[in-house]
Symmetry: C2
Amino acid sequence: MKDYLVHDEWCVIEDKFHSEHNEITESLMSLGNGRMGQRGNFEENYSGKSLQGNYVAGVWFPDKTRVGWWKNGYPDYFAKVINACDWTSVEINVEGEEFDLAKVKILNFRRVLNMKEGTLSRECEVEFPSGNIVKVTSLRFCSMAHDESGALKMTITPVNFSGEICIKPALDGDVKNKDANHGEVFWNELAKESTFGEAYLTMETKKSTWESVPTFQVCTGMKYEVIKNGLPEEVTALPLKAEKFIGAEIKSHVILGETLTLIKYAVNISSENYATSLLTKEAKNYIKNISEIGFEKMLTLHKEVWAEKWNRNDIKIEGDKAAQQGIRFNIFHLQQTYTGKDARLNIGPKGFTGEKYGGVTYWDTEAYCLPFYLSVAEPEVSRNLLVYRHNHLQKAIENAQKLGFSNGAALYPMVTMNGEECHNEWEITFEEIHRNGAIAYAIFDYINYTGDKNYLNEFGLDVLISISRFWAQRVNWSANLNKYVMLGVTGPNEYENNVNNNFYTNYLAVWTLKYTLESIQYCKENASRFAEISNKLSFDFEEETKLWNDIIEKMYFPYDSERGVYLQQDGFLDKELLSVDQITEHRPINQKWSWDRILRSCFIKQADVLQGFYFFENDFDLDAHRRNFDFYEPMTVHESSLSPCVHTILACKLDKIEKAYEMYVRTARLDLDDYNNDTEDGLHITSMAGTWMSVVKGFGGMRVEDTQLHLNPKLPANWEGLAFRIGINGVLLEVKVNKSGVSLENLSDKDTEIKLYDSMVSVKAYSSYQNY
Amino acid sequence: MKDYLVHDEWCVIEDKFHSEHNEITESLMSLGNGRMGQRGNFEENYSGKSLQGNYVAGVWFPDKTRVGWWKNGYPDYFAKVINACDWTSVEINVEGEEFDLAKVKILNFRRVLNMKEGTLSRECEVEFPSGNIVKVTSLRFCSMAHDESGALKMTITPVNFSGEICIKPALDGDVKNKDANHGEVFWNELAKESTFGEAYLTMETKKSTWESVPTFQVCTGMKYEVIKNGLPEEVTALPLKAEKFIGAEIKSHVILGETLTLIKYAVNISSENYATSLLTKEAKNYIKNISEIGFEKMLTLHKEVWAEKWNRNDIKIEGDKAAQQGIRFNIFHLQQTYTGKDARLNIGPKGFTGEKYGGVTYWDTEAYCLPFYLSVAEPEVSRNLLVYRHNHLQKAIENAQKLGFSNGAALYPMVTMNGEECHNEWEITFEEIHRNGAIAYAIFDYINYTGDKNYLNEFGLDVLISISRFWAQRVNWSANLNKYVMLGVTGPNEYENNVNNNFYTNYLAVWTLKYTLESIQYCKENASRFAEISNKLSFDFEEETKLWNDIIEKMYFPYDSERGVYLQQDGFLDKELLSVDQITEHRPINQKWSWDRILRSCFIKQADVLQGFYFFENDFDLDAHRRNFDFYEPMTVHESSLSPCVHTILACKLDKIEKAYEMYVRTARLDLDDYNNDTEDGLHITSMAGTWMSVVKGFGGMRVEDTQLHLNPKLPANWEGLAFRIGINGVLLEVKVNKSGVSLENLSDKDTEIKLYDSMVSVKAYSSYQNY
């Protein structure tokens, strides 16, 4: 745990340079706009600890799988997020001395991520070995308004001398991936060109062994302007060229009292969105457009988009500045990682903040991120997350075929970029199949929230049928139990592997079958494409659903009637049942225990049975909730960042607000305080959605049932107040909770009804309601 | 399956060069003498398919572990068998044309592994592009009589021309390991020197990251003699030197009708056996000694050792030449892999025939190889296999500590060279712990066969106590079952991972506890070192054995009372119970099925419950044998080469001779016929012992109970006769079985009593008995 950043409601502030934590700060201060992004690296050369990272959404490389021992069915490659051309690069030389924060004396320093406005700025004053002192400021953003571009402004001011300042704005494509499996470099240079004030570098990802995997081309372009004392400065630029590098060297004599300013506009134009033959041309057009708009106006437009976003999704926590900063930090990063404009994109585990793990889509998207986007963005955003999976259906069917399934059964991958499975640990890749259920559940979740049932006809039903086919083949009949069983799975609790009858997975499978049957019924009755879909999938309704109904009726769920709890899996009660407080000095067990010891123990990495209760709370009464929570919670070590939020939500439901708050603080500042010593690799983007859920679904008690909003707010003792905004049914609602009670403000032009605690409450357009 | 070799009773013959199978032939025709060995590579350069392999016993490299995803507890390195200096190298040039079988026209060719005499010879006639024809013969052996040396003889005879023949005898240390995890080269050159007719090359293994791992030095030396037409030839030799290479170039004009002969003596002197400062000196002495003995006499002494070995261990099968060749092939390779002279050595999975898998010691040694050496060699040979583990006890204790065990509990490694665990698949490394039981069982097996109970006092008891401590900590009390259980294990059947209550493991654990208690009792009563051992191990007899007795009494064994079978593990009956003949087109499943499908299925890689019945047959009646065999046999795919022998033995016991024979043929010629398409990597040395067991314990029905030999021979229908020799209690016995009955011949000077079928039979010294 680290505590070197200033607690501030809207900003992340480093007010003294912590070179030892620079990689952490770089992660925290990453910027993005859904299409591109980069870590908070310094613009100039920095020879200290740094992880350079620039990313273009949708651009990846199939990195050859690396394993110790190959298992049948492993995928050939792991789709890696790749480090792309660095557009922010500006080398600075002052009187022949290099401006490198590792080599100068830092007199003062302040680096600020402004989350309200989406900018990263820096001010510093440094002394060179010669005694020359300069002040350097920088400001940059990844434009939300023009999402294939970014811009930066740097100023250099001599403080105690006059002399020559040399600046080198450049595009640096000579980058590596730290996380490459075999140390491979992923890019080749294709072309570059420069004219005065502009430069373009086009690179292409290397051809891989896998012919079906496309290569990607990206043209990165820049235009720069030099300003002295506020006026455009005519300067001579010496072109700089090297392999995968293009830039310019500009020298200017600056007199004490003068300020030299560089403005740099940059674009990333990708073959994902343009014909390869037109990349440079499009880059030039884009550059022309934004440079004509100009830096200040571009920045204003960018801020306006952020203002609009915060207007929909801000959360205010009174009386707890650290919590306030934490929740906004999470919302900020989620918003800049995924904007929902493009159904080919998804939410990578590190977003634009690092390269680790690769892939962009885990079940996190459906189980944790979807609820966030449902509430804070237009329905189209969430819809695109679902369409992404719809578009990968064929790959999911092929993936299941590789594992021996047939007849159009689909198994969605554990990790993917393009629909192909990437992960290669058998106990996860082949067995953590509950992800398939989460994808089905997300369709339900979306329709339940938005009421957009027509989604089933358009994109949902084929996915549901194909997943149901998988479940129907994945179970087998146990003559011994006279029930259907599901053998050899790994649940969300990855501290158990290859278990039988994982309650959560079995429950999700049966639920999927039921929901698919309901959905078929709906589509049949509602002038639908059912016949067309059925035909396309060669779906034999009578025959296949007969088995589904049989499974629904005769599925086995391990249950302990003595305790009244569902068992996480067969044999769970044969373990030595300890509680987490008995192994305090052994935690975290994933660092202190060997894998077999973890597996044999009762300790739970991540909510498992309770994840099922969270998804299907109406299927179980409050007592069942309490019994299962009280049984499993003491054994849960929460060594996944996705775990505590579910416990917070259930604890709130069970009126265990203190426990809920204890769980909440574990994740709220996970990255800001570097709890797990891994923030330097990038941020835990998807678990940020869990933190949002903790606040809104936990303390806010927000639920939706068939588009009807329910609220059940319960405030932690040390919070003065909580306010959050959610959008539902075309209504934007601000919910404010304080010690006295709850107020609801309808910020839209549409009347609405809300179930607050146990009563229905009407809130007219632009009106408020309060219960105190 | 391949069938390109001649079926011959004593030889493996390739009578036409099969370049496409050359790597297979190289494996099959490997030579060794327990101290050194090499694959059947050609002496001259060969540019076709070849896997070069020269090995020096006890010399290895800690190759950095390679995994996709690190799990806590994985070892740092995998001890790799390393390819060492090639002493056989003799380049040949004829009138400026290179003798390379891939580049000449082969007129005739014959390569012979003579298993009776332990030699590899070759005769061939080839035509060069120029039209010149030469005849080349070679003969080599790894001396059993002088086990740090080998020798070879090559002759070259021009057939249709006179001209200059150039030969380059050399020591080539510039070798790589195909199986290196990271492509690393493992050797550095230390020194080399040559004088006329001799050369010495000393190499050292690289320093590794692990300081505790020693480096090894090996001095390889050679002396050569040139003979023309049977008379020593004075030749001038041009010295050849390069990095890790030393040799000489000899030119001789050979007239049509003359024959040029090269004799090459070689030694491998290792720092394992000599002070590093003396390596070259010792190599020179050794070379001097063997070259004075001379090639022919050396060969004679070598053959004498082999004659002695065959005298003890030959098996004759009448009426089945393929089976006869197969069983001798297996005995031959076992004998040249391990001679039992040095307790630091063990039996590598590939012996001296390949580098794959690394390590030298698996549980194969105790469970499969020990019974072979007990019967065919002096007791010291088997004893050294046990002492090897005794010497690794401290490492086994440390290994268990790494996994969280304490108080001197020992877990022997799955794979090892020096006692350190090497393997890195969690489901095996951490969970396939039955290996620990096999090591305890081997102590019992040895004492049961030899009567050497004093072994307990000397080396056995501390190992048993430490293994028992492991079992006592590895089980846990299940309040649910009111029994002790053992969770999270992998049994011998590796097609199940991380299961609970594996019958075999649970049974072996309880047996170990019982046997350790008995052994303690024996040591206490027999003027023993018990107090000393107890003290050294801080063994609290009262306290610790109280728990052991409780576990013995209350261990859980999964059992199906309806079928009367022990269950391989908890939940086995929930699987879909199919038989192997229902999935014929899916076999081998390890190639055709994904790992999860294999795990979920009922199919068994290797005997598991039946392995327990094999070890502890007297604990179960014949009906229990039959029920369990009939239940499990149809589900066993035998995709481990260690599986069929156990089924053969049990099938013989159950009078299912046809089934026994079906099982037997699966392994008898596994390598000779390249059943698994992997002979090119090296031979399956340890499973060869299983084949021997199939014959002697299966068809021979041989058992030993407290040093008393039992025989129960049953001949397969297509065999005319079977004869095998076994040594026990200082008696060498030949057992002959034919259609008429059994004859026993006592080849020693000591009377003996044998239980033949149900009767006790006396056979006086140098006498026979027959029951027909």
